[in-house]
């Protein structure tokens, strides 16, 4: 594999550096301390509840509280450098305190999806072997089952309203306990987060502990986070992201948005911080900018965001297609779109052109799509402000190479489809304790994304489909996304999914699962619609009507489930 030319650098403009060689900070702990020294008493994090109740921590407060938590982990809980600490909580003021404390202690942060079932938690805990778990009380009833046979020595329990002023905190606590009953009794031995911080503080003051010494011998390429990925497609693997990975990816991403000014921004974090996009861009990026970060514990229903938009002058927000699409349909949002917004950034899943266009119409400000994977900390590409291209994931961020390659790793001709490979300082060290899986994706310094893409003459990239979803019909590649897009344009179709099924004459054949909107819809209608828009080999040979399609808990249609059902049906015939 060779390094491509970089036609995209021409589109960076004067404000974006093409290379960011070295990180401005050695470790994330250094970054946290240094930024806190600069911005001190300015508000860093504000947790905003659906009813407008809120709490704020300044840069100095987060620094002090996370110091105290670091001391607790090292001195009281007895953790060592490199020990894993799992964090499982929705967005709230506890998150930055816990995450920063873990990093300052020289430990490894393991983000856990708070919506995981006990079984999913157990699998992740068995793999990561955390020495401590910081968990919100709402989910603490799952700990006993999730740690059976593999106990976690230190359980630290926090609450959604932690660090809020006492009256709102009390009201939220009472409502959670007696009205929604979302907080259940905790059966395992544990310590409260606030107690842990008090204990850490006492130790620090008594023994005059210099917290900065904890991560003094942490190297930039030591692991900072184990970020799990692939849970819906198979066994989840922990991507080892280093301090340098995260610091540089944060810098690379901020570099692509020069409109954001230091010490002047108010960012909205509606995406969960345990997810790598929100973690790197919102948690670290906004902090680094000296911005005020408005944390939303749960964006469901979307009216939960109303008070945040009313009470704070949001200048930047991030989200996924679903969030932007949803907001564009909320009457309160249409009535008063955020006046101070400069731009919004989308990641996590493909941003639909229609959604981006509508967002721009409503807010008058651009919605920029980026692309990346957990394994790349996560950002690989972003659309530069003012030079966006419809449907494109943008151009590679500074110091990043991207290329479309064939099955042998050879770059395909410009304009041809190939698997996207990427190289840059944000690419992970590998999968935790999985050298086999690491070898499959890291080849010659390039990371293979598993996404089929195409690059235009200017270096803008476009995603075609996931490689493993590709259907091969008589040697021709068919991308299910393309066929589904065509089907979605038929007015009688509510939704559809396309997979490949074995076929004697063509190897594989295209099969479409269709949820009809119009009950009179026939297979012939669908096929003739497709014939009008697609080459013959892409037209579904088989069409099956369904009432619903299998979906993941994030609303993505699960083609793999359809494939599994299909092969089961074939076997039973």
């Amino acid at each position: 594999m060779t390094e491509n030319d970089r036609p995209w650098v021409a589109f960076y403009g004067p404000d974006i550096r093409a290379e960011i060689e070295t990180a401005a900070y050695r470790t994330l702990g250094d970054l946290i301390r240094s930024v806190a020294d600069t911005y001190g008493s300015a508000p860093a994090f504000t947790a905003c509840m659906p009813n407008g109740m809120n709490g704020t921590l300044s840069f100095a407060q987060v620094d002090e509280l996370s110091d105290a938590f670091a001391v607790y982990l090292r001195e009281v809980a007895g953790l060592q450098k490199g020990d894993r600490v799992a964090v499982q909580m929705p967005n709230g003021l506890s998150f930055p305190v816990a995450a920063f404390g873990i990093l300052k202690a020289g430990c490894v942060l393991v983000n856990v999806n708070p919506l995981y079932t006990a079984e999913e938690m157990a699998r992740q805990f068995q793999d990561a072997e955390p020495h401590a778990l910081v968990i919100v009380d709402m989910f603490a009833d799952k700990i006993a089952e999730a740690t059976r046979g593999h106990p976690i020595p230190n359980i630290i329990v926090t609450r959604v309203a932690e660090f809020l002023p006492s009256l709102p905190r009390g009201i939220i606590g009472l409502v959670q306990k007696h009205w929604d009953r979302s907080v259940k009794p905790i059966e395992v031995p544990h310590i409260r987060f606030s107690q842990a911080i008090r204990a850490g503080r006492a130790h620090r003051d008594r023994d005059r502990i210099e917290v900065a010494l904890y991560d003094k011998d942490v190297a930039p390429d030591d692991i900072a986070c184990l970020q799990y990925t692939g849970g819906t497609t198979g066994v989840a693997k922990g991507a080892m992201l280093t301090h340098a990975n995260l610091i540089l990816n944060m810098e690379q991403t901020l570099e692509m948005i020069p409109a954001l000014e230091r010490g002047k921004e108010v960012g909205l974090t509606a995406l969960p911080l345990y997810h790598i996009f929100a973690f790197t861009v919102n948690l670290l990026g906004l902090y680094r900018l000296g911005a005020r970060n408005i944390l939303i514990p749960s964006p469901r229903p979307l009216t939960n965001l109303k008070r945040a938009f009313e009470n704070y002058k949001i200048t930047w927000m991030s989200g996924v297609n679903t969030l932007f699409n949803g907001l564009s349909r909320e009457i309160w949002f249409l009535d008063s779109p955020p006046k101070h917004l400069k731009l919004a950034s989308a990641g996590g899943m493909a941003l639909q052109v229609a959604v981006a266009t509508r967002w721009q119409e409503i807010t008058g400000k651009p919605l920029l799509q980026g692309y990346g994977l957990t394994e790349t900390s996560p950002v690989l590409s972003f659309n530069p402000v003012g030079k966006t291209r419809d449907g494109s994931i943008g151009v590679p961020v500074p110091s990043t190479r991207m290329a479309c390659v064939d099955d042998n790793g050879i770059p395909v001709a410009q304009g041809e489809r190939g698997e996207i490979a990427a190289k840059g300082p944000q690419v992970m060290k590998g999968y935790w304790q999985r050298p086999d899986a690491t070898e499959e994706v890291l080849k010659g310094g390039w990371f293979l994304t598993g996404d089929i893409g195409v690059m235009d003459a200017d270096g803008y990239f476009y995603i075609v489909d996931r490689k493993k979803d590709m259907v091969v019909v008589s040697g021709f590649n068919v991308y299910p996304n393309e066929v589904e897009d065509c089907l979605s344009q038929h007015p009688g179709i509510l939704e559809s999914a396309v997979i490949g099924v074995p076929n004697e004459s063509t190897g594989e054949a295209v099969k479409a699962f269709v949820v009809p909107k119009d009950p009179g819809l026939s297979v012939e209608d669908i096929r003739s619609h497709c014939k009008a828009h697609l080459t013959a080999y892409k037209v579904p040979r088989l069409v099956e009507f369904r009432d619903t399609l299998p979906k993941s808990n994030v609303g993505k249609i699960l083609r793999k489930d359809l494939r599994a059902q299909e092969s089961q049906d074939q076997a039973s015939e």
């Binding site: 995406l271 969960p272 009470n311 996590g348």
Partner: protein
């Protein structure tokens, strides 16, 4: 009926509740309701167009005694009551629109009430108690403004005020509904079924027709719910005050019957509609996937 002490207590409760309601609002909410006065105009039409007509039709078709019919007409010509704001809040309606509609219909009432009653009850010489109208406006607007200011000063103070206001509102509704029956037992036992029917159905028809009208004109469901509750919920205490001022002794007792019955049943009717509206609102809410990613 209600003694002066209780009346003062109820007024104080309403004040605190409206303080909480106000704390859920921003000036922008009012600005948007005013910028599209369509909803407001629809409200005035259904308030002074439909409601008196519903009252009139029932008075004629139910063959009510004259005094009862007159009482029904007076109640049906009243502006929107303060409780409509509380129910709008709970039914996830447009509270700013509701407050504006109450204010508009109350202010317009000064000349529209006599006019409409003139049309339906032919040249009735009624005395409209201006003090009462001013008191209604003050008790509505002053706490709302204070609530908005509190929220502006601190989002937390606003949210806490709103929380306590809404808790008190539930207590208030429960208190009215539960305490009314035993206190008026004698009266309830001697009232004719047709009077009951008129008093209950005035509210039900008002809400249904207000909703249908708003939907017909393609108002957003949020605003349709608001118009419905605003139309059906009348300022019954104002009707009682007008009757007391205008009519003497014996006659007064019969005329007041509908107003008194209405006051009680509208709380129950509105509660039922509010629960239905809330359910409809939840059903219409956008379904967001469990996690956004």
């Amino acid at each position: 009926m209600v003694g002066p002490l209780e009346q003062a207590l109820l007024a104080a409760m309403i004040f605190v509740i409206m303080l909480g309601m106000g704390a859920s609002l921003t000036p922008r909410d009012f600005w948007f309701a005013l910028r599209r006065p369509y909803g407001l105009a629809i409200g005035v039409v259904s308030q002074y167009g439909f409601m008196p007509f519903i009252g009139f039709v029932m008075a004629v078709t139910l063959d009510l005694p004259e005094a009862i019919a007159l009482g029904l007409l007076i109640v049906s010509c009243m502006p929107g009551g303060t409780t409509s704001n509380i129910f709008t809040y709970f039914s996830k309606g447009n509270l700013a629109l509701s407050v504006l509609m109450t204010v508009t219909s109350t202010v317009f009432g000064v000349f529209l009430i006599p006019l409409v009653l003139l049309v339906y009850a032919s040249a009735l010489d009624l005395e409209i108690p201006r003090d009462n109208i001013i008191a209604t406006l003050v008790i509505l607007l002053v706490p709302v403004v204070i609530g908005m200011v509190l929220r502006k000063i601190s989002a937390n103070v606003g949210a806490v005020t709103e929380f306590f206001g809404s808790v008190l509102a539930i207590v208030f509704i429960a208190f009215i509904a539960i305490s009314w029956v035993p206190r008026n037992w004698q009266f309830l036992m001697t009232t004719e079924p047709s009077t009951y029917f008129a008093a209950i159905m005035l509210g039900v028809f008002g809400i249904l027709i207000g909703y249908g009208f708003a939907k017909l004109l393609r108002l957003h469901p949020r605003n349709a719910r608001t118009v419905a509750l605003e139309t059906g919920i009348q300022n019954a205490p104002l009707a009682v005050a007008i009757i007391v001022l205008t009519f003497p002794g014996e006659e007064q007792q019969s005329i007041i019957a509908v107003g008194a019955l209405y006051s009680m049943f509208i709380v129950m009717t509105s509660t039922a509609f509010t629960l239905a509206f809330r359910r409809a609102n939840t059903a219409a809410e956008q379904k967001m996937p469990d996690s956004l990613l």
